[in-house]
Symmetry: C2
Subunit: 189 residues, 2 copies
DNA sequence: AGAGTCATGTAAGCTGTTACATGATTCG
DNA sequence: CGAATCATGTAACAGCTTACATGACTCT
């Protein structure tokens, strides 16, 4: 039951359609949660039925019609309650780590290739998040923003995403180097 | 279908019972995957039925009997195949991040408390993983180990876990400080 | 005496993924 | 002219979590 709270948190920034949320919750800017479009459409329907979000139809001429959602007072109260419950620890679940764990007992080349690929996507995400951070700061320097800026929450989760992606990039590059030194090249897919 | 490969990777280090695996896949040393005991017992049964692991009964007098499992040649071949398929990107899914995303629109105190608690558990895990890394290195210095040591895979995933937990600890502490500066103390649960 | 460890499961329910479906518009 | 974008879903299946069940031994 945490996707619903992630959706509520995302809608604090303004009105969004399911489609727009789907983009945000997919690769790219999903700093604090990930979900597929199907999940989001289903969850928005449920949230609306429960009165936690309110949707309004927007008729478009050149594009398909869409529904924009915003959080209701009841939705905010639900978020409040959720934030007060103790968070369960978050766990690692990553295919690539499983492969690395086994790398000295199997063919290393494909694992090296995947580490290189993951390093590239992490590096790209670092760039995207740096831009997002700058946009959220909006000209202020960081200390100033942290003390007085609005929307501190999204900035903090953005910092977390940045640190995570930098760390991913560095570890993948270093691990790939170490494995190449032992086992040779490994193709770049 | 990735838990099965995580189990196979874990069993590369030797023979383990479901109970021992459950401890490793739970908090503490779960560097590369997480799973509950129930999942592991079920998965081991399936893996045995598929011939990817072999179990043997160990009769104990003072303790309940147990079954120890090891990877078969077919199991290793399955891991090999898995490692060669392209890994799907890994995604963030963390309750605490959702709460931080919303923190400037709700009561901050409980979020601050949870950040402090998470920082403490991350710090504890850093200690555990530092010990594990030292044990895996077994006296050698790091460069030496990376060039010539055995079981390089577990060492690399351990390094990843270490970097991740350090990063978690630092971000949680910093975020809690920033939020305290704005919103006051926030109890420590 | 009570809490924790060793040891293995079953059953029900919730969450997440994969596959399928539709159709106009805009960009290269 | 083909691919991508906008826009919203349904259905089936796989995977994970929660609750329950049992029982002896060891440590404080």
């Amino acid at each position: 039951m945490a996707l619903r709270h992630a959706v509520l948190a995302a809608l604090l920034d303004g009105e969004y359609s399911g489609y727009q949320l789907a983009k945000a919750f997919d690769a790219g800017v999903a700093n604090f949660w990930h979900a597929l479009p199907q999940q989001l459409y289903a969850e928005l329907t449920k949230l609306e039925a429960d009165g936690l979000v309110a949707g309004r139809q927007v008729i478009q001429e050149t594009r398909p019609n869409k529904r924009l959602f915003q959080v209701t007072e009841e939705g905010l109260a639900e978020l409040e309650r959720f934030a007060a419950t103790t968070a369960k620890p978050s766990f690692i679940r990553d295919d690539l780590l499983v492969k690395v764990q086994a790398v000295d007992r199997i063919e290393a080349a494909p694992v090296i290739g995947q580490l290189a690929a993951r390093a590239r996507t992490a590096a790209a995400k670092v760039g995207i998040l740096e831009q997002l951070a700058a946009r959220l700061r909006g000209g202020r320097d960081e200390a100033e923003f942290l003390a007085h800026g609005t929307r501190l929450g999204p900035y903090l989760t953005c910092l977390r995403g940045l640190a995570f992606e930098r760390e991913t990039r560095d570890w993948c590059e270093r691990s790939a180097d170490i494995l190449r030194a032992r086992y040779g090249e490994g193709q770049q897919p």
